[in-house]
Amino acid sequence: MSNSLPFKNTVDIETYLAFQALLYKEARLLDQEDYEQWLAMLADDIHYYMPVPARYLREEKKQAIKPLDAHIFNDYKKQIELRIARFATNLVWSENPQNAINHTVTNIEVFPTDVDGEWNALSVVTVLRSRLDGVEKRMVVSRDDIWRIEGDSLKLAKRNMLFNHTVVPDSNLNFFF
């Protein structure tokens, strides 16, 4: 029996590992609130989008997302920079003392796209946020990314997210997914 798999991976192992490392690094920067370095990972035309989830019957699911629909994030670079500028004022009292946060990235899949130098990466991020006095909040988000080669690095060009929770379980989302 041959020792090779009877199918081809979506990308070669080097590429896969590179994406794994990239997503881990991004998670670490977000955990550390190193927004300067995180911003440097974003393409200038980034679209960072998370619609508001709702529960519909399966047969009515088609009405779930409408053109004019509410969102948790619908940000281009300018709006992301605005959120970061707000944190940077040091006047956001709810983040002082700092809340401990961990982004755990799992379920990574990487696919080539039709566009040269662009990859589609899927992942699930579980955020564990330890707030004052032992309060813990856990949130799960599936991410559908487009990453693009720019110069000698990969930049996040698009992130579509699905937030699992129809009722947001924390009183603020002063962070990114």
């Binding site: 998370m50 619609p51 508001v52 709702a54 529960r55 519909y56 019957l57 009515e60 009405q63 409408k66 004019l68 629909d69 509410a70 969102h71 948790i72 994030f73 619908n74 940000d75 300018k78 709006q79 605005l82 959120r83 500028a85 707000r86 944190f87 004022t89 040091n90 006047l91 956001v92 009292w93 709810s94 129809t166 009722v167 947001v168 379980p169 924390d170 009183s171 603020n172 989302l173 002063n174």
Partner: protein, 453 residues
Amino acid sequence: MSKVDVSQLVDNKTGRQSRTIFHEQDIYEQEQERIFGKCWLFLAHESQIPDPGDYFRTFMGEDEVLVIRQKDQSIKAFLNTCTHRGNRVCKSDKGNAKQFTCSYHGWSFAADGALQSVPLEEDAYYNELDKSKFGLHPVCHVDSYKGLIFGNFDPDAPSLVDYLGDMKWYLDVWLDAMPEGTELIGSTQKVEYPVNWKLPVENACGDGYHIGWAHAGVMTVATSMNIESLSLGNTKVDSSTAMAGGGMNGHSIISSLDGQSGYAFYPDPSLPVSYLEANRDTVVSRLGDTRGKQFWGSQINMTIFPNVQMLPGLNWFRVYHPKGPGKMEMWTWAMVDKEMSDELKQTVLDNVCRTFGAAGMFDNDDGENFAACTSQNRGLQTRQKDVYTNMGLGKEYTHPEMPGVISDGLVGEQNQRYFYRRWQEMMAAKDWSAVPNYNNLEEANATEGKIDE
């Protein structure tokens, strides 16, 4: 159950409240009965259920209800619970349905609430079940005011227009400014907070005081227009540029009077401001000079007692659902004028989500404060102390044109005092005949002090 005596828990004359009202389970139960069981509660906007069979699942207090558009376009609401064993009848947030079939034993209810079919009706019930007695339990009053649908569980409640009373003069600044009226857009943005439901209500009732401080971070980066009646860091304010109106059966308003500052927290307010100017004459012709020029377009907070808040300009519409003394769910939508262009509607919706949505840069400052104002009262010693809304006591006056009791400025605590006065009146009254009516100021003066007797 014996009732809690609320006479010492709130004092409108000194602006004092006992902290127990944010903590005690028996007070909470009494709120369910005497406030959420008697007041008109917001159910949905007509635009959310335009066609027959359209439904929306929501709450009146802790009671889950289903609001359904009927074949004749009227609207009915029912407790969302099966009359057989009590299961939830509808699990979807909204949709369109000919009937609602219970997932437990399969009883099926029509859109008008009638029990339509029962599995094994002949074989197991021997055709002896009187289906006419097992329809969904209706909410006894359902009525609309200019697009907003309300329900009331109390057969003896005043009519909706009487309930809204003098507040209608202010509500119309949004609901009736443009000929086509308003609509809610986007799906419901729901956030759970470890917060007593009254704290966010009193906040948006009249608390301009916190804006410059609690929201200092976002004010620093996201303010595009000057609002003279607010200031960053609470350094100074010009009280003559804004008003607070309260005392109107618990409903209230705070408003700038410049006719455009509602859009001050838009990164680029030019699109909404040009909409305001293009339609200013129409609105003035419908509402007159004061409301058309000074109110319409201004930074405004309106509160409909007990749990609805709407901020034209920032364009959000919100209801707070109590979930126990220490928990509530906040539901937010964007509300727009139907006449607005799709581009402007999208701009408004984006701004609502970015400022007051789940990741809203303003809203994300408030939750932590409300949560601690709630949780600190778990301490037995702590909750025997009082808290105060005593800013500007005695500075109230009446105005020849503007209804209610008026104070100057967005920074004040008058409306919070009147919110708690109404809370106390409702909590003390076993039925509506014992609830004072402040629908005009003469009456207000006549009944002033009734609580203290």
